[in-house]
């Protein structure tokens, strides 16, 4: 999936997004850069965004003469080995050496599993290698090579993430080489705002933040408001536990997002915009700020030739760590410097948002899709996915699944394909009675629900998931195995809602606390028979009467597990 | 005391009911079997309260949670607020009263079997046993008590509504 055309210069792409960083990716990148310094510039080493299979990080992709190879679970100590393997100069030397001194000690080898070329003896050690056992080192690398033909990679359809992992996120030039800002320029030169909105409307794109509202309709609503200032806001406050889709865009391809925001601003007539990023994403914040400075410096937003009519400025705003600020009205309050609490809607932000002006709020992934739609054309984009849920969606696959990481697939892909084929199924645990088998998939985080294993053939689209009592949400998918009792899982999410409630309305502030206490009784097997009804009543009350989406959706993990796994709650009732 | 405000209704009542157990109106020490109606006053604060509440429930057809202390834990429940670092207000209350505020010979009294042990939390009656009728008020007025009792003398459940009948405090 992430492949350079054969024949390109040899390069190593080391993931230095948050996932791999947490596994030591930064030290690995430094070690690689240091080791590559001695190769005389024949080998490029660069840091890139997410390479998808986060569970095997730190990851490095090697683009060699014959194609691309991916390595996982790397340690900084292996940097030298990897550089020797990838360095074209060394290949030549080794070929020569292979005919010379080491030939005798080197048995003839068949196809080397490490190297993606026809060169059969590149797997042998470089001359003068410091390691005592160069062959062992190469064998280790061979064992860490990941098969790019496996479904995890082969079944992905990267559109939003098409350049994530390929380009250096800190390099505007690399982004430009791959076509960044080309669609913005085209819009400014060739398309009227109405035409841009028509393209988005016809593409059928729906909001990727969770609710699935038609993006084109939202843009029209903002654009058609009475004369006056307007704002564009990018919601990058990704806060669901188990969700890291937006982070990968922010960290891996920031210019794509900036382009999407600028196009949106042009389409709705906004001159000012904000990217609201949670403080827990320091790397994303740094990269977005740098990208923004680069784009400003090149005059990509206004001032550049042919863009005189389009003046747009953008600011990165950092949230203070409240989950509720992902709710649009709370987010707007926060941008305005007020307490991040939701307010009743209507009026919707499209009518009255920042400082009372019409405000377009879209999620990161929604906006990052915009340049793709304009490039492909709305018709081609709408042909991907399903008629009611067109396009691709990025999912963050985690939990009790073999392959954890980022997956971008067409909407409508069966959940089974995502979890079992792409994700490789649950982690079997031999010897654990009943443990390890796939039990359910939790989608949509603390606002979502569980889809039981026997509904895995459900296509993943907005309506199908809702019909099962779950929701698409922003794209987090947590795989649950039979070792996890469902009341425990529900309590986990309820505890999250308790601590993230803003406290403004009483059902969410006090109701979630009572729900968590009730769930404790089931988890600790001391519930009374009447508690089951109490639980259901209170869930309904919190769902129906809370002020914002956070409270309204807080009971979802309970209601969905009650729906599919009621027996587990019944077994939490204490005997007489 | 509020019960005594029922005045002449007490005579009507006495003709229709037999008081079989009361801390003040009878000498019987053991709660009898087969009781029709019990007005339970006060919150459940110690092991004796709890035991009696359970016994009342087992042996009584209709249990009335009588007054704010029984319904909300009210004043006795105030000790639930002193729970530094945990759910157990009993130890916190004892420490505060017998150790921190002691003038001399600070010690927590322990007399198993004599002084009933405090429960970790003072609880309203309905958090301990199922309750049939609630009669809030501190105290419930005589009119309110009468409005509660009269339907029950006729074998009906009272329906208490409006500020005169339902207001806490």
């Amino acid at each position: 999936m992430i492949a350079l055309p054969p024949g390109s210069a040899s390069q190593l792409r080391c993931c230095h997004a948050s996932g791999c960083r947490s596994a030591g990716g930064e030290a690995l990148l430094q070690a690689l850069q240091e080791a590559a310094r001695d190769t005389g510039g024949t080998l490029t080493v660069k840091g890139v965004g997410c390479l998808r299979l986060c569970g095997r990080g730190p990851l490095v992709a090697w683009d060699g003469p014959g194609g691309t190879a991916l390595f996982g679970d790397l340690r900084p100590a292996q940097a030298g080995d990897l550089v020797r393997l990838a360095s074209p100069g060394d290949h030549e030397e080794r070929r020569r050496d292979g005919q010379g001194s080491q030939a005798g000690s080197q048995p003839a080898r068949g196809s080397d599993p490490i190297v993606p070329s026809t060169d059969q003896d590149t797997g042998s050690a470089a001359p003068g290698g410091a390691e005592a056992q160069p062959e062992a080192a190469m064998a280790a690398l061979a064992s860490q090579r990941l098969d790019l033909e496996q479904p995890f990679f082969a079944l992905q359809r990267p559109l939003v993430l098409e350049h994530c992992g390929l380009i250096d996120p800190d390099s505007l030039d690399e982004a430009l080489e791959r076509g960044a800002y080309a669609q913005l320029q085209r819009c400014l030169r060739e398309l009227s705002p109405e035409q841009v909105r028509a393209e988005i409307r016809l593409s059928g794109l729906r909001g990727r933040g969770g609710a699935g509202y038609p993006t084109g309709l939202k843009w029209d609503t903002v654009a058609l408001q009475p004369e006056g200032p307007r704002y564009v806001v990018c919601n990058a406050d990704e806060g669901d536990p188990g969700a890291f889709m937006n982070r990968s865009v922010l960290e891996g391809d920031p210019h794509r997002l900036l382009e999407g925001i600028a196009i949106a601003a042009y389409a709705v007539g906004a001159e000012r915009g904000y990217i609201y990023v949670r403080a827990e994403y320091p790397l994303a914040i740094a990269r977005m700020r740098r990208a923004l400075a680069q784009a400003r410096q090149r005059g990509l937003f206004g001032g550049a030739p042919g863009t005189a009519s389009f003046q747009f400025d953008l600011e990165v705003r950092v949230g203070a760590g409240a989950y509720v600020c992902g709710e649009e009205t709370a987010l707007l309050a926060s941008i305005q410097g007020r307490r991040g609490c939701p307010r009743p809607r209507p009026p919707f932000p499209a009518q009255s948002g920042l400082w009372g002006a019409p405000t377009l709020i879209n999620n990161v992934e929604t906006l990052a899709t915009v340049p793709v739609i304009l490039r492909m054309g709305s018709e081609a984009y709408a042909a991907i996915g399903t008629p009611t849920s067109p396009g691709t969606k990025v999912f963050a696959l985690s939990g009790a699944v073999r392959h954890t990481g980022l997956v971008e697939v067409p909407l409508g892909t069966a959940l089974r394909t995502i979890v079992e084929t792409i994700g490789g199924g649950s982690l079997e645990q031999p010897g654990v009675p009943g443990g390890g088998a796939l039990k359910a998939v939790q989608t949509g985080g603390p606002s979502g629900g569980c889809i039981p294993a026997d509904h895995l053939d459900t296509p993943v689209d907005y309506e199908s998931l809702r019909a099962l009592g779950a929701m698409m949400g922003s794209g987090g998918m947590v795989v649950v195995d039979t070792g996890t009792p469902m009341p425990l899982l529900a309590r986990h999410f309820m505890a999250f809602s308790v601590s993230e409630s803003c406290g403004k309305c009483v059902p969410c502030r006090a109701g979630t606390v009572q729900l968590a206490a009730l769930l404790d009784r089931f988890v600790e097997h001391r519930a009374e028979p009447a508690d089951l009804q109490r639980l259901e009543q209170l869930c309904a009350m919190v769902r129906d009467t809370s002020l914002c989406g956070l409270g309204q959706a807080a009971p979802s993990p309970v209601l969905s597990t009650l729906r599919w796994f009621r027996a587990e709650y019944e077994s939490g009732i204490a005997g007489p | 005391m509020s019960f005594l405000d029922l005045d002449e209704f007490l005579f009507d009542l006495a003709e229709q009911v037999e008081i079989v157990f009361s801390p003040v109106a009878s000498d019987i020490k053991t709660y009898p079997e087969g009781v029709d109606l019990c007005l339970v006053e006060g919150a459940v604060a110690n092991a004796d309260n709890l035991e009696l509440a359970l016994q009342v429930r087992r042996r009584t057809a209709v249990v009335v949670s009588f007054g704010d202390c029984a319904v909300t834990a009210n004043v006795p429940g105030l000790r639930n607020l002193i729970t530094p670092g945990g759910r157990d207000s009993a130890m916190a209350a004892l420490q505060r009263s017998y150790l921190e505020l002691a003038d001399s010979q600070a010690q927590i009294p322990v007399a198993p079997g004599v002084v009933p042990e405090l429960l970790p939390r003072v609880l309203p009656l309905h958090e301990v046993i199922p309750v049939d009728v609630y009669l809030p008020g501190c105290p419930p007025s005589a009119a309110r008590i009468r409005a509660c009792l009269e339907p029950m003398l006729r074998g009906e459940r009272p329906r208490l509504e409006g500020p005169e009948m339902l207001r806490f405090g």
Partner: protein, 239 residues
């Protein structure tokens, strides 16, 4: 002034355009319980007691923060709404320490009244008994956090009418509390003008005059509305 007509519990009413649903409900002679709402202050829709069912709208709407519009069919008293209201009131009682018997506001408390309105004879939710404090640092008034229901009337009256903005909300979820100044003792906040409007609008016994003993608080809850009317419509006399 244009007029709109709508139906409240089957009863047709006419109200000036721009009225809230709550005003329309009142025009129909129906009393909806409210706690966070107070005439004269901006609506926040936080207590959820005035939720109503509007035909064709899937969500319940807070009457205080929703605009009345032509032809709406509004239900204020369905069994579901009644049950939810009672649950909300029980949640208020269970989350704080609202013993009425020894409260300054006993007998003149909107929370106490609302409990009667919804028919609450006990709380089905276990009491939380939070460990909260009392701020008695102000020379004239006190704030008892135990009695606070976070309606934010004090925050709004101080901001919108007195324009001192002494009060705000800190923390989140169950830890939310009203704070003075930059989370200082009230008595140390210079911005406080000692006007007492916050005490007047407080629905419970959370804010009170220091001189008040049990059941002695009798605030002027219409003060905010009178001041608002004086400013907006130049009506200076109390009506």
């Amino acid at each position: 002034m244009s007029v709109i007509t709508l139906s409240i519990d089957g009863q047709p009413v006419a109200v000036p355009a721009g009225s809230s649903l709550l005003q329309a409900v009142r025009a129909a002679g129906i009393r909806l319980p409210t706690l966070c709402h107070l005439d004269g202050l901006s609506p926040v829709g936080a207590c959820r007691l005035c939720l109503v069912q509007v035909e064709g709208v899937s969500r319940l709407l807070p009457a205080c923060a929703s605009e009345a519009s032509e032809g709406l069919q509004v239900q204020t008293d369905t069994p579901e709404l009644r049950e939810y209201r009672r649950m909300a009131v029980e949640l208020f009682f269970a989350e704080g320490n609202h013993e009425c018997a020894y409260c300054v506001a006993n007998g003149d408390c909107e929370l106490q009244d609302v409990a009667v309105t919804v028919g609450m004879d006990h709380s089905r939710f276990p009491y939380r008994w939070p460990n909260r404090s009392v701020d008695a640092s102000h020379p004239l008034f006190s704030l008892d956090h135990n009695r606070c229901i976070l309606c934010t009337r004090c925050v709004r009256v101080c901001d919108e009418i007195e324009a001192a903005h002494v009060w705000d909300v800190a923390e989140r979820g169950a830890h939310c509390r009203i704070i003075a100044g930059l989370d200082q003792p009230w008595g140390e906040v210079d911005a406080c003008t000692h006007c007492g409007k916050c005490v007047d609008v407080c629905p419970t016994g959370a804010l009170f005059h220091k001189a008040d003993g049990t059941a002695e608080k009798h605030p002027d809850r219409e003060r905010a509305q009178h001041l608002r009317r004086a400013r907006d419509q130049h009506e200076w006399q109390h009506r």
